[in-house]
């Protein structure tokens, strides 16, 4: 997160170089329209390429067809041979049944069509946001619509990712800002000292939290979304969900909080030592004014970028953390889709992320111009 934001900031700095004098006929509207058009076209091309690459990779360039054919044969054969209803069938009847089932399953999965044709179909559907039907998966509610499979997991995903990531973001930024003011203090050093704790992933802390709070102290649940049996009352149900949220969210937060604070604190420190900040301090401005006018404002594009990119990553979930805590989120769903080679679900989640990313990047260009007077839309393009 932090590295992305710093990189984006660097990009912003480059693009916010003073531009050449504009020509008299270069009106703002034309310039913005032209810029927007070019950005949209390039993003459309990028998204198309990105999604098609995803399709190719998810299908190993078509080799997945071979894998699936063999898996279908193996699974079908074993299920027929193990089924007590078919035990007394003649060998010929079993073979005929197995072959019929294999053919039927191959047809159902579209393996009777060349992969190249299917891949273009996947691409077209994805770009038009026609997410279609899953090949293998169903939603918890029993639907095969990719849209429903993804949407169904969205609330739990956003609850976990939103709670933990937003908490992380705001706490990190505000604590980091405070630390940058008290550089060298004991809390600053304490944070720096603990920043290596982020070397361990959230699931690592998750296991410890489960052991401590569920197995030993027995005050919080091992996992899941809600108590068993689920409370009938909606308020109790919501409270139960929040209780189940504590450990997974805590594991995500613990795994990142110190490093995140450290990163932001370093970032703010760089700006805090700029000459114009020193001048402002020398002029006798209050620390609050210095912070708001001379530190926060020039760093705003970076903070916004970080926040925007964070907002769209909320969509992807935390695969391992969800697995450890049996949290019914999108991370597990997408991971399972990859394991099952369920291309429509993989592509569905990818295209949504791709569109969100493209739109966010485009919007950020405009937002930079709004919050930072040094930035001009399309300013660099007319050189």
């Amino acid at each position: 997160m932090s590295s992305k934001s710093l990189a984006a900031n660097a990009e912003t700095q480059v693009r916010s170089e003073p531009t050449a004098k504009k020509s008299f006929d270069d009106s703002t509207l034309i310039r913005m329209t032209k810029y927007t058009g070019i950005r949209l076209v390039t993003m459309a091309i990028t998204v198309t390429i990105g999604v098609y690459l995803t399709i190719l990779i998810a299908n190993m360039g078509g080799y997945v067809d071979t894998i699936m054919r063999n898996e279908i044969r193996d699974n079908t054969t074993q299920s027929i041979l193990a089924n007590p209803s078919f035990r007394t069938l003649s060998t010929e009847a079993k073979q005929r049944l197995i072959q019929e089932k294999i053919t039927s399953e191959e047809n159902r999965l579209g393996l009777n069509q060349p992969f190249a044709v299917r891949s273009l179909g996947y691409l077209t559907n994805a770009l038009t946001l026609n997410l279609g039907r899953a090949m293998q998966m169903t939603s918890d509610q029993g639907s095969k619509e990719v849209r429903l499979i993804l949407l169904e997991r969205l609330p739990a995903t956003l609850l976990l990712t939103g709670t933990s990531e937003l908490f992380l973001f705001f706490v990190s930024v505000f604590v980091a800002l405070a630390l940058s003011r008290k550089y060298g203090g004991w809390f600053d050093k304490f944070t720096i000292a603990l920043s290596p704790t982020s070397a361990a992933p959230p699931w690592f802390y998750g296991i410890f939290l489960i052991l401590i709070f569920a197995a030993v102290l027995r005050v919080l649940p091992f996992g899941g979304l809600v108590d068993v049996p689920p409370p009938d009352n909606k308020i109790d149900y919501a409270l139960s969900v929040l209780k189940h949220l504590i450990l997974p969210a805590a594991s995500v937060i613990i795994a990142s909080i110190f490093l995140s604070i450290y990163t932001w604190r370093t970032f703010f420190l760089i700006f805090s030592s700029e000459d114009y900040v020193e001048v402002a301090k020398a002029k006798g401005l209050s620390p609050r004014d210095v912070e708001q006018r001379y530190i926060l404002r020039p760093t705003l594009p970076t903070i916004i970028t970080s926040f925007a990119l964070l907002a769209i990553t909320l969509w992807t979930g935390f695969t391992l953390t969800e697995t450890i805590f049996l949290w019914p989120g999108l991370g597990i769903t997408i991971y399972r889709a990859i394991g099952l080679y369920d291309t429509p679900v993989i592509v569905g989640s990818t295209i949504i992320y791709a569109y969100l990313l493209a739109i966010t990047v485009l919007l950020l260009d405009f937002i930079y111009a709004l919050v930072d007077p040094r930035v001009k839309i399309g300013g660099g393009g007319s050189k």
């Binding site: 193996d74 054969t77 209803s85 089932k101 918890d140 029993g142 049996p229 689920p230």
Partner: protein
């Protein structure tokens, strides 16, 4: 400054400790010391011991205690409670890795899915009770291809195309070592494809144990045979001691699965080491199923892309008849139908024995037994697959609980489990069951919904049945049924085990004219045996006409036009004779039809004799006309349903339709059974509004042996079923026609509204049907299906719909139908789902996103809770031996074998012991005598007599006696053994 350093050091320490923590290997599960003979670690093959192991393998601790049930308790007083013992069962998804900890923490009471063999030690350490059942079994599967010189197509040598080398690998595998080291003693060493220690194995126990002794681990013997055979095939050992063929190393490509439980990787590494010890260079190719299946399934064996694969096969319940396994697992005509099987060249005798068994070519059970005795050694000599272990699955639970489990496949497949699960010291209470994430993986509907055992486990608690499967023997007890008669054709090998089935024999079993034999999906009526006889006559006439028309065809001038004319003429003749309106023109003039005609003409022209050509022409013409016929002459006419090999009559109690109620309050009725019969056919019939091509094959397979069904009476309900498939246990031949549709129980009205939704192409019963129609796969418990089903329910109420009115109208009136629909509507309003049953529990709520299902006790259930109490835990036995430690050559001796219940230590009644056999082994582990025990009391005591003439054949030195008791109430035998010294 000092503080800075301190913080830096603190930070580094924290990071370092976490990295170390993450990298640390998990604490090893406590393992039993490997068998003394298995002194060579698999990574040190050169240090392998030369001496053979003493054999056969002693049953492991696990096998001696298949169900470590809780300690015996006082028999509870007679209960007056109806339905389930528990007030509530809460099922939720739990991570198997934490299951033991969760039970200890009282978060759950039972983990029903079961844990792998290597978790047994952890379960014991946690002092939990557990059930034990069979699971997956593993093998080494060889590529058998080889030309006359045992070479692949490119000239490389395939050692494993030589049966003797494959057989020799049995001596190179130390199954005891594998069991102890990889599975912590929680699995069963396996030499045969038969499930170790289950029904067929115990029937062959003397032969099986003898062979296990013969093939006990002996790497030197394996090396010796490999050396001889490799040399004979033209291979030589190079300077490095490795085999070479035509100057190149013989490299074995070993496909090793690294997914699943991960133990196949260890098995592969172990056997790879043994291969290297035998002089082979081994290339390990590790991968998951999807990586390796294109090679072992998808490639042509003659290309030699692989030599060995770590095979894994699934067990599915307690199978009492494994006679087809030899064909399935070895022979080229295996139904598996993949090249590696078709390329195997078995011993002709093995082929014949395997075929005789699979095709049922035996007239008595003794003949069957004799064939199995022959098949066992032949299978090891073939060894297309070398079997390694039968894995066991352990379902842990708190010891204050009583849980019954199918010894063949575990708690979740045990239909009886919800009927018997209870707290030992009380009635009622709430049990929390943890299971896997497959609980709601697929939608639940009774006709073609979720097929996961976890889903079925929850569903079983809500369901009733005609018969109750015995979890310990695989037989069937009457649940709702009262009794049954089975009439088998004389000479059919079948026996009765339980007294609720009367078995008799008749020379000919005629199917009555009014028996229902098939279904007409267009006119929605059953077809009778009389219809079938008429259809057969018509079919024979059409066939004769086809032969006549073919006779007029000039074979030498056969072309497309002539073939089209033949088909058209036959269709016209058929129409004239039967009044049908078959039109073949469209089919024959379509692009596909033209191509089919052209292909057939070409194919026929290539046939050698005129008779072959005529037969092919007639067959094609009949097929073309039959494909366009919407009637049943061409389908039913080809079946002979006039007689059957068995007639099973099931009798239900007279008050059943008054006492058995659906959870929605409706009384069970004959219409529920009729709907079950109709769906058996209609769903797989082209022309039906609900036709699903995915189940057409299932129906075709069913019709290949089904001969008819007849409702003999509806008060009390009595149904006769005629069939050509006859299981050797009479109890398993009783068809109940209970309204369980294969994927759940349901009242007819639920199926009716589902059918309406399918016919309207708004929902589908099955996943394939859903994909083809681009609709949702029907769920009775959630999702978009509920609104659609609800809509059709309202329509059915408004229209007073009687589904399949011509048939069902005789069993239900319009008012009764509306009452049924209203009951279901109220059920849906109360519970927000359509899952309805007659079982001891009902589905109260299903939170699909959270993965939680709640079942509550059904107080209206007809039976008392204690009806199945005696099945609360497996009646496993234990054996003890008492006798001399020294024998003298030529001097008779006696041992005493005593059998007791494992759980209580009480004597096992002699009447419940089917057989006691004992074996004497010499110092090399070879069997020297097999004898039978003689009962000496009613309390499980047997005398094992060694006659003087047998003792005369003993040689001085160490020896061992092993006794095996085979029980009637449970399929798992009890073993024990004792060492002795033979004095000269």
């Amino acid at each position: 400054m000092l503080r800075n350093r301190f913080y830096v050091a603190l930070g580094l320490l924290a990071a370092f400790s976490m990295i170390l923590g993450a990298c640390a290997a998990p604490a090893p599960a406590p393992t039993t010391q490997p068998a003394a003979q298995a002194t060579s670690a698999p990574t040190q093959p050169t240090a392998a011991p030369a001496q053979p192991t003493s054999a056969p393998a002693q049953p492991t601790a696990a096998s001696a205690q298949p169900t470590e049930a809780a300690k015996p308790t006082e028999a509870p007083a007679q209960s007056t409670r109806h339905g389930g013992w528990l007030d509530e069962i809460d099922y939720s998804v739990v991570d198997g890795q934490s299951a033991i900890t969760q039970i200890q923490a009282d978060a759950i009471n039972l983990f029903s899915y079961g844990l792998a063999s290597d978790k047994l030690a952890d379960i014991k350490k946690a002092d939990l009770c557990y059930t034990q059942s069979y699971g997956t079994y593993y093998s080494l599967l060889f590529n058998p291809y080889g030309n006359a010189k045992h070479e692949y197509a490119d000239g490389r040598l395939n050692p494993f195309s030589n049966r003797k080398i494959r057989e020799a690998t049995n001596w190179a595998v130390d199954r005891n070592y594998i069991n102890q080291e990889i599975y912590a003693g929680g699995a069963l060493p396996k030499l045969f494809p038969l499930t170790t220690q289950l029904v067929d194995y115990t029937d062959l126990i003397a032969e099986a144990r003898g062979l296990e002794a013969k093939y006990a681990y002996n790497l030197d013997k394996a090396k010796e045979i490999v050396d001889t055979e490799m040399t004979a095939m033209g291979a030589k050992k190079g300077a490095d001691g490795k085999w070479e063929y035509n100057g190149k190393p013989v490299k074995i490509t070993f496909l090793i699965r690294n997914d699943g439980d991960g133990t196949r990787l260890q098995l592969g590494n172990y056997f790879g080491t043994q291969l290297e010890a035998m002089g082979f260079a081994v290339e390990h190719k590790e991968g998951k199923s999807s990586d390796l299946s294109p090679l072992w399934i998808g490639s042509d064996p003659k290309e030699g892309q692989w030599d060995i694969y770590t095979g894994g096969w699934g067990s599915n319940g307690l199978n009492r008849d494994e006679r087809t396994i030899f064909r399935e697992m070895y022979l080229p005509n295996s139904p598996q139908g993949i090249p590696l099987f078709t390329d195997n060249v078995p011993d002709p005798e093995f082929q014949k024995v395997g075929d005789d068994l699979a095709d049922g070519r035996f007239k008595t059970l003794q003949e069957r037994h004799d064939l199995m005795v022959k098949a066992l050694p032949l299978s090891v000599q073939d060894s297309l697959q070398v079997w390694l272990v039968d894995l066991q699955s352990y379902a842990p639970f708190n010891c204050d609980l009583e849980v019954s489990s199918d010894v063949g496949a575990g708690v979740e497949t045990t239909f009886m489990s919800p009927y018997t699960m209870r707290f030992k010291d009380k009635e009622g209470g709430q049990v929390k069951v943890g299971t896997t994430a497959t609980l709601f993986t697929d939608p639940w509907n009774p006709v073609n919904g979720a097929n996961w055992v976890t889903s079925a486990y929850v569903q079983n608690a809500t369901a009733g049945r005609g018969t109750m499967p015995d979890p310990y023997t695989g037989l069937a007890w009457p649940l709702r049924a009262e009794k049954a008669d089975l009439v088998a054709q004389t000479g059919t090998p079948v026996q009765t085990n339980l007294d609720w089935v009367n078995l008799s024999f008749e020379d000919t079993i005629k199917v009555p004219d009014d028996a229902w034999v098939d279904w007409d999906p267009v006119n929605q009526k059953f077809l009778t045996a009389a219809d079938a006889a008429k259809a057969k006559t018509q079919y024979d006439q059409v066939k004769a006409k086809a032969d006549e028309l073919v006779g007029a065809v000039a074979l030498a001038k056969l072309d497309d036009a002539a073939l089209v004319k033949l088909v058209t003429d036959l269709a016209a003749a058929y129409n004239t004779a039967s009044g049908a309106t078959v039109d073949v023109t469209k089919a024959l003039t379509s692009d596909e039809g033209k191509q089919a005609v052209a292909d057939k003409v070409k194919e026929i022209q290539e046939l050698k004799t005129d008779d072959e050509k005529k037969a092919a022409l007639a067959e094609f013409a009949m097929a073309q006309v039959g494909a366009q016929d919407t009637g049943y002459v061409f389908t039913l006419g080809q079946r002979d349903v006039s007689t059957a090999k068995s007639k099973a009559v099931i009798y239900y109690p007279a008050d059943m339709f008054k006492t058995v109620k659906w959870h929605d309050g409706s009384a069970l009725s004959p219409a529920d059974f009729i709907m079950s019969m109709i769906l058996t056919f209609d769903y797989g019939k082209p022309g039906s509004a609900i036709y699903d091509e995915d189940v057409a094959g299932n129906l075709e397979a069913f019709l290949s042996h089904f001969k008819g069904v007849q409702i003999l009476s509806t008060d009390p309900l009595t149904i006769a079923t005629y069939d050509d498939n006859v299981f050797s246990d009479a109890e398993l031949n009783i068809t109940t026609w209970w309204p369980n549709y294969g994927f759940g129980e349901a009242p007819w009205q639920s199926v009716a509204i589902g059918n309406e939704a399918v016919a309207a192409k708004e929902l589908a019963w099955g996943t394939g049907q859903a994909d083809r129609n681009k609709v949702e796969w029907m769920s009775f418990i959630g999702g978009p299906s509920l609104d659609i089903l609800s809509k059709h329910l309202d329509q059915a109420i408004a229209n007073k719909t009687i589904p399949y009115a011509d048939v069902m109208g005789k069993y239900v009136t319009a008012d009764e139908a509306v009452a049924r629909y209203n009951a279901l509507k109220k059920w849906y309003a109360d519970h927000k789902h359509f899952w309805d049953g007659t079982g001891p529990y009902y589905l109260s709520t299903a939170d699909l996103n959270a993965g939680v299902a709640v079942s509550k006790q059904n107080p209206d259930f007809v039976d008392l809770s204690d009806r199945w109490s005696k099945f609360g835990q497996a009646p496993l036995g234990e054996a003890a031996l008492d006798g001399p430690a020294q024998l003298k050559v030529g001097e008779a001796a006696e041992y005493k074998a005593t059998f007791t219940y494992q759980s209580s230590g009480d004597a096992y009644p002699t009447k419940d012991i089917r057989a006691v056999k004992f074996l004497l082994y010499d110092s090399t582990g070879a069997t020297v005598y097999v004898g039978a025990g003689t009962p000496t009391s009613d309390e499980g005591v047997f005398t094992l007599a060694i006659p003087a003439d047998v003792a005369a054949k003993l040689t001085a030195g160490a020896g061992r006696i092993e006794v095996a008791g085979v029980f009637i109430p449970v399929a798992i035998p009890a073993f024990t053994s004792q060492d002795y010294v033979v004095l000269p």
